[in-house]
Subunit: 368 residues, 2 copies
DNA sequence: CTGAAAGCGCTAACAT
DNA sequence: ATGTTAGCGCTTTCAG
């Protein structure tokens, strides 16, 4: 039980060794205000000597910061959220804080119980990734919280809480316009989980872009590969004309790609594809899939930064005035599935990887 | 500061309401031993009434369990580790514990400082995923720890600590034998990060299988797509004969796939591919990539389970006797890149998804 | 079986 | 500027 304290020196040990009072050591530890530089020296010498580190638990019990922040995400293993978490952890680390991650499985009750558990552990603040509309209970729970909370991926605007999201609407518009720009007169939107905030925004953006181009928007909801197959069959069968698909997220794109492969459809000759959210092998797929890339790392870092700012400013709980969500811009990553010219695309590539493979490609074809 | 305790009832409130002493409530909370059933009733009624939840921090300060476990992984966003973490979290949740994840970036010093930070926060136990050989410092740190530690992915056997790993050797043997079984006389092994324990084991398994088949093993180390390109060029150029590649992990496979695409190589006609560790779009790639699948979820759950067992048994620190690592079996997932017949493969598919798409496929080709 | 009392290591008044 | 003191909420002897 008491294996924590094995040999570990405590604040009073430091005080004794430095020949000062406990409070002085505590003060020295917390900013060193109101401590003479002479004692400051003696204290830090003693700290080094004893290799003393303050016990976060005791500190936390007393009411000071616990050095932990919580993050509630739909799923820990989902690429998007694990990358968010990684960015958040990086910022937390800079602030000497630990990150506790709890999966919600998109269930409001799970969120509430997770929230309470985090509270019991005295976390200093909370990041909440939740893009389904919250239940009344969750809203109440959040409203009653005296703890800095920042939303990520889904806005907490209605609750007066700050949040960081991607410009889903804009990304969708960009994608749709791009597809339209390739000359496809018919561009459909396929998505999963239409209830999600992010999906709604993307669908809205798609519709807006279609309307602006005087084209007729069509949104299809799918839940699996079989649905994708059915949707594809229907639209391919409807006319010989090639058409574009704007996929709502990478899961949608995955179902679609699988279905396309099963049907033996030519991309982009028969169907052009552009998906929201980049994914690992998008580049390696046949053909490479064009995507709207979200600034995941920036989203995570920004949200965490806001949280720590509030922590420092001791701004707990909702503000009186509504807090607009910070919306970060997505980026079109053009590969080939949207109909872009492979050569032009490769030429336009700006990063080193692209350039490097260019020259190697040339070398290879020269030797083959 | 004191926003944690806002209205929150404490143990003494429960005691007062139930008309018993603090100690009795505490006992009731911790197993209810030595408490009359009558007071037990009154206490639990009071707990419900006040919706009391014990403060984990206070409990932890006093020396009891903190309700938190730590996990140190090379990277939070890496699919393998985030899936491990998810499994671990599930078990932790069952035990009412929180999971704190720290990324090590495969750096021993980072691990050590992370370790110490976790200690300061009184975590009850630790899961360590680290498959590079540990430095003397890390070994010493680990040895001195009075805390249950369980290794995952890499063994901590030398330190007398339990660990859970995949049968990397066996998986590699399986893969190599399978490739050999397809009739490829030449099968090479390509990998990244040869220093990793996992990679060593896989390379050993490959070599063993090759030797058993009286074939000459060739292991190539790559670090990026360009290396993959160079390796491929060399081996394709070396002879017209098709050959097999056993890729050490999914990153290797990815580089290889990209390079294969850039070179326009036919898979499996010119190069057959079989990779260790499944990945998201393996199925959608052209052709679908065969892999050795690791029981990731089981690994995470098992490691966590062992940790909680030790926690319950109060077995802290290394055992006297060496603790053999628990080695979980991988599974060959045969798709097409290894040379398996697409039709046969699909027929052999046992899960619903496969069956479902089969029938749909039939429907589709019938209508086309 | 039960309650009173003594801390766990730290911070924050409150004196000085 | 500095020391003394009183807890934070809980567990745990130690007496009954």
């Amino acid at each position: 039980m008491a294996f924590h304290s094995r040999n570990r020196s405590k604040l009073s040990d430091v005080a004794r060794m430095a020949g000062v009072g406990n409070a002085t050591v505590s003060r020295a530890l917390n900013g060193g205000k109101n401590v003479s530089s002479e004692k400051m020296e003696r204290i830090s010498a003693a700290i080094d000597e004893l290799s003393y580190r303050p016990n976060r638990v005791a500190r936390s019990l007393k009411g000071a910061s616990s050095g932990m922040i919580g993050m509630i995400v739909p799923s820990i293993s989902d690429t998007f959220f694990s990358r968010c978490a990684e960015a958040v952890e990086a910022v937390a680390h800079e602030h000497g804080s630990l990150l506790v991650v709890i999966p919600s499985h998109e269930n409001d009750e799970t969120i509430i119980s997770g929230l309470r558990q985090l509270l019991l552990h005295h976390v200093d603040g909370l990041l909440l990734a939740h893009s389904t509309p919250h239940s009344r209970e969750l809203a109440a729970e959040l409203r009653g919280l005296r703890l800095p909370v920042v939303g990520i991926d889904g806005p907490l605007t209605e609750l007066g809480l700050p949040s960081v999201v991607c410009q889903n609407f804009r990304g969708a518009t960009l994608a749709t316009e791009h597809l339209l720009g390739h000359g496809y007169r018919k561009v459909i939107h396929v998505q999963v989980k239409p209830a999600l905030y992010t999906m709604c925004e993307r669908a809205r953006g798609y519709v807006a872009a279609m309307k602006a181009a005087r084209a007729r928007p069509t949104t299809e909801i799918i839940a699996n590969r079989e649905d994708a197959l059915a949707v594809l069959k229907r639209h391919v069968g409807a006319g010989a004309e090639p058409f574009g698909i704007f996929a709502g997220n990478n899961l949608t794109a995955r179902y679609l790609c699988e279905a396309i492969r099963l049907l033996g459809l030519a991309v982009p000759q028969q169907v052009a594809l552009l998906s929201f959210d980049d994914f690992d092998l998008a580049d390696t797929l046949h053909p490479p899939t064009s995507v709207v890339e979200q600034p995941i790392d920036l989203m995570g870092r920004t949200a965490a930064k806001i949280l720590f700012e509030r922590l420092a400013a001791a701004v707990h709980g909702p503000e009186g005035r509504p807090t607009p969500a910070i919306m970060l811009g997505p980026r079109l990553v053009l590969r080939e599935s949207c109909g872009c010219d492979p050569v032009r695309v490769r030429k336009a590539g700006q990063d080193d990887a692209d350039r490097a493979s260019d020259s190697l490609l040339a070398a290879v074809s020269g030797s083959g």
